[in-house]
Amino acid sequence: MRLVLDLFTMAAIGLGLFFYLAGTLGLLRFPDAYTRLHALTKADNLGLALVVLGLLPQVGSVLAGLKLLLVWLLVILSSAVVSQLIARTARQQERHR
């Protein structure tokens, strides 16, 4: 059972890291603010979600697991708001030009 859980953790975190890598690559390579945000939100949402999912079997208590989930939810919330604000600012600057 332990082995299965460890394998699950490695697979989930590995997949999460792949999304982070892809997101970072997109951030560096994509041409404008909107597409970069698109790449970044993939890393934030899916990448972190998979990392948290992978860590869940490793925590000792339910409380620690809930804390991990809370961290994920808070990051999703703030990244959603911040990407909205950045996109809006970018749009306004485009209009001024």
């Binding site: 808070l74 919330l77 703030s78 959603a80 708001v81 909205q84 604000l85």
Partner: protein, 313 residues
């Protein structure tokens, strides 16, 4: 594996430090500095200094970064002209020489440190039970070196007074900074309504956990200050004029209670800031609770800057 990660982080840290120093554009430099602060807190985690890591992330990366971004915004108007200025070769050579000398001196200081560094850690560990506090950092900050913490709180209040004193005479006592406006139905206002209750609970948790685990009043105060800034920036609530009596009492509360506890120590235990036998933990809790509003208000008001509007506006 572990040394490789440490080495990579150290290398990245140096690169970011160099980036912040060399960047010509102030905003780019600040962006590098914030990333540097976050990475530095990772280093503290690796060194098992979780308390320092929390403080570095909150104060070094977060608050200082926000203050610097504010400064960059104010300097925007004059920055373009400064970008084209280049100081002469002599001045730059002297600056490089001076920097190299300071660096060499620091290296020398590190090299001549005595082999096993002098440490008070065993004494702290031996006497920690007397304070009834589980977290040695809290024990040091509020029992063994409480005077330092008291002076630190006072220094913060004085720093705020320094910022306030930059106000023009006519605006003294007014509201700090500009009034923020945001779409009241927008996503930012939504976040500013949703997040503060969560932030307040987390801050109180970190504050309370500080007795036995990493955390404490400083980290909690930073979170509370951030929540207040969020509400202000979303235009949901304006910052009160600095002449408000309640605001001033809130700021003075921490140092006043701290000094009162110190004087109580003179009366009961014969020395300033000594805690009566068996009363260390309650006294520490009283001081921490009193310092929380002081630190929250000071940190947030430092962000707001000097009074810039009439109290009536």
């Amino acid at each position: 594996m572990t040394p490789v990660v440490s080495f990579a982080i150290a290398l990245l840290l140096l690169a970011l430090a160099l980036w912040s120093v060399l960047a010509r554009d102030a905003f780019v430099a600040v962006a590098g500095f914030v990333a540097y602060g976050l990475l530095l807190s990772l280093v503290w985690v690796r060194l098992a200094g979780i308390d320092v890591a929390l403080t570095e992330a909150a104060i070094g990366g977060g608050l200082t970064g926000a203050l610097l971004i504010g400064a960059v915004a104010r300097l925007r108007a004059t920055e373009a002209a400064a970008l084209h200025e280049r100081s002469g070769g002599g001045v730059r050579g002297l600056a490089a020489l001076l920097s190299a000398a300071v660096a060499a001196l620091l290296v020398l200081c590190v090299l001549v440190l005595p082999g096993p560094a002098p440490t008070l850690a065993p004494q702290v560990a031996a006497n920690l039970p007397a304070t009834q506090v589980g977290n040695p950092i809290t024990g040091v900050l509020l029992a063994f070196r409480a005077v330092d913490t008291l002076l630190e709180a006072i220094v913060l209040v004085i720093a705020l007074l320094g910022v306030w004193s930059l106000a023009p005479d006519g605006l003294w006592g007014g509201r700090p900074g500009q009034r923020h406006v945001a779409d009241p139905d927008g996503i930012f206002a939504y976040l500013a309504r949703l997040l503060p209750p969560i932030g307040i609970v987390i801050a109180i948790y970190i504050f309370w956990a500080g007795a036995d685990h990493p955390g404490g009043k400083f980290q909690a105060a930073t979170i509370l200050a951030a929540m207040w800034m969020l509400v202000q920036m979303a235009g949901l609530a304006d910052v009160p004029p600095v002449s408000t009596r309640r605001l001033r009492w809130g700021i003075a509360a921490g140092p006043l209670v701290f000094v009162a506890v110190g004087v109580l120590g003179v009366l009961t235990a014969g020395i300033f800031l000594a805690y009566p036998e068996g009363w260390a933990k309650p006294m520490i809790v009283v001081i921490e609770i009193a310092l929380l509003p002081t630190l929250t208000l000071v940190l947030a008001l430092l962000m707001n800057g000097p009074p810039a509007r009439n109290p009536e506006s």
